[in-house]
């Protein structure tokens, strides 16, 4: 018990909890990796866009299987500026996931998880998983063909885990799937649960974790990030914060232009945008969102147990990174980070091509 208190006292030093330490006296290292310090702020800003646009969409969205699709159509076609708000929500959701991953990779490469920043890291990993949860739960809400069918596939992959577990635990994934699903098949209960998760549960957990994450960052400052000594620093307030806000401005401008000019739905074939029809045939081309391709394509090509082992193993390694990589050099961490980034980019951009090459299809 004493060691837990000691651990927390070191991570949350009361003597540093004042404006002088956390804002006025705080400095930020300046070096060739400094750009990475802005990625967390951009992710936070995109989360704020999600909150604001999500609240606006809530005024019109109807979370019932009969009305969900129509209400989304109504937002897009009838509500003044509705298509911009919906597009902004969709574009910034994808951008948020991109930046949260970039933030993860760069902080890992900069060994920002090292003592005394373990809590910052753990809260960040929690936020990463919640961000994926936002993506998965939000995907179902428009209740169109791709939304419902992709959710079905996602839930089936949870159930499939049962066959690889010991007999006494084999029923657990099915139970978990049923708890998430709420009924025999994806239906009203599923939509209600995903809606509540998406707009209440996950945001509340996010606010808590973001609070811990930011408080911890302010308390311990930015990590050094490079091997050797940092030769130059700049003041956090106002120099860094002004630059941070300027990147927010640039991101807002880009997001707004995308929302105004490039409908997110245009990237999907139009049959996937039809209202979900339980009695109709499933259209071709059902896939999860692009950020799940890193799991989706391996699942299509490799044994299920191997991919699940890699995914769950990866999450455990991430959670224990401050202890596993305690003595690992920044150079080695950078190589690992670059390896993951390359895998992610290749599988996301060329997953389909690789899949057809492996499977020998057209």
């Amino acid at each position: 018990m004493t060691s837990v208190w000691e651990f927390l006292a070191e991570r949350f030093p009361v003597e540093k909890m004042d404006l002088q330490h956390m804002v006025q006296g705080k400095t930020v290292p300046v070096h060739r990796m400094s750009w990475a310090y802005y990625l967390g702020g951009i992710t936070l800003f995109l989360f704020l866009i999600q909150v604001v646009t999500g609240l606006m969409l809530l005024f019109y969205y109807q979370p019932t299987v009969n009305d969900a699709f129509e209400s989304v159509q109504y937002i897009t076609e009838e509500v003044p500026g509705g298509h911009i708000i919906r597009n902004l929500h969709a574009w910034s959701a994808s951008a948020m996931i991109f930046f949260v991953l970039a933030h993860l990779v760069t902080t890992f490469a900069m060994k920002a998880f090292a003592k005394p920043r373990e809590v910052t890291w753990l809260a960040g990993i929690g936020l990463l998983l919640i961000t994926f949860g936002f993506g998965f739960s939000g995907y179902l809400l428009p209740w169109n063909q791709i939304a419902v069918n992709a959710t079905k596939i996602g839930l089936q992959s949870i159930e499939a885990m049962g066959q690889y577990l010991p007999a006494s635990m084999a029923h657990l994934p099915t139970q978990l799937k049923e708890i998430i699903q709420g009924e025999a098949s994806v239906g009203q209960a599923t939509l209600s649960r995903f809606f509540v998760l998406h707009v209440v549960v996950l945001p509340l957990i996010s606010f808590g974790l973001i609070g811990i994450h930011l408080f911890s960052v302010q308390l311990h400052g930015m990590s050094k990030g490079i091997p050797g000594e940092v030769k130059r620093t700049e003041k956090f307030f106002p120099t860094f914060i002004i630059k941070d806000f300027s990147t927010w401005g640039a991101v807002f401008f880009i997001m707004f232009i995308l929302a105004l000019t490039l409908p997110f739905d245009a990237f999907f074939s139009f049959p996937l945008m039809d209202p979900y029809n339980a009695r109709g045939s499933t259209p071709d081309g059902i896939k999860p969102e692009w950020y799940f391709y890193m799991v989706y394509y391996p699942l299509e090509m490799l044994p299920y147990w191997l991919v699940m082992l890699a995914v769950n193993g990866g999450i455990v390694v991430l959670l224990l990174a401050p202890w596993i990589f305690k003595h690992t050099s920044i150079k080695t961490l950078r190589m690992l980070a670059v390896g993951f980034a390359l895998y992610f980019v290749i599988i996301t951009l060329f997953g389909d091509v690789i899949y057809h090459l492996v499977k020998g299809g057209a």
């Binding site: 106002p238 914060i241 105004l260 000019t261 490039l262 739905d265 245009a266 074939s269 139009f270």
Partner: protein, 192 residues
């Protein structure tokens, strides 16, 4: 039930399937295309669901017959099993030409060349047929074409939002600098 079977049998003689166009559009674009490009129902005209022959009442059956008789281009049709784009095809080409074009589906693009852009998204219907996108949805089209069209269309808004964001950032930066300067001044006066 008997009435329904008779109705379906009658309707089947009235209908002609055009999967060649769907297949061509899909192959040309690499995108999935279904019957919903031209038909009211994404499952096609046969069946009992909304927009399918089995669901039509007597008035709608008359409209279907009228559309079937529109052999020549230029006739106004409102076939209930077709969507606005499907009806437009019949209007622009007529049934006879449409049946002929089944032999060479790429010809549809040629006939539609001057037929405009029914959803007003800036991508012509002919091009949307080639791209495998929905000609009747202004939020659906080739992403690059939509982007370029919309940039031109919303240039004023883009300039305004650029100026507004820039002005907002300028104001915020100066506000933060003023806070910082105020804090420094207070610290100095405290130390004196």
């Amino acid at each position: 039930m008997v009435r329904m079977i008779c109705l379906l049998a009658f309707a089947a003689t009235m209908l002609q399937a055009y999967p060649e166009f769907q297949k061509f559009s899909q192959t040309h674009s690499g995108r999935t295309v279904n019957c919903g490009m031209c038909h009211a129902s994404p499952e096609g005209p046969d069946g009992l669901s909304f927009g399918q022959v089995g669901s039509l009442d007597s008035v709608q059956m008359e409209l279907l017959k009228d559309a079937r008789r529109a052999q020549q281009p230029g006739m106004d049709v409102n076939n209930p099993v077709l969507n606005p784009f499907g009806n437009k095809l019949v209007r622009v080409m007529g049934v006879r030409l449409l049946v002929d074009a089944k032999k060479d589906p790429a010809m549809l693009h040629f006939y539609l060349k001057d037929a405009g852009d029914m959803d007003g998204d800036g991508v012509t219907d002919a091009q949307e047929f080639l791209d495998g996108t929905n000609p009747d949805n202004r939020y659906h089209g080739d992403p690059l074409a939509l982007f370029l069209t919309n940039v031109q269309h919303h240039l004023f808004e883009i300039v305004m939002i650029f100026m507004a964001t820039g002005a907002g950032m300028f104001g915020l930066s100066n506000l933060l600098m003023a806070f910082a300067a105020g804090g420094e001044g207070k610290k100095r006066s405290n130390s004196v």
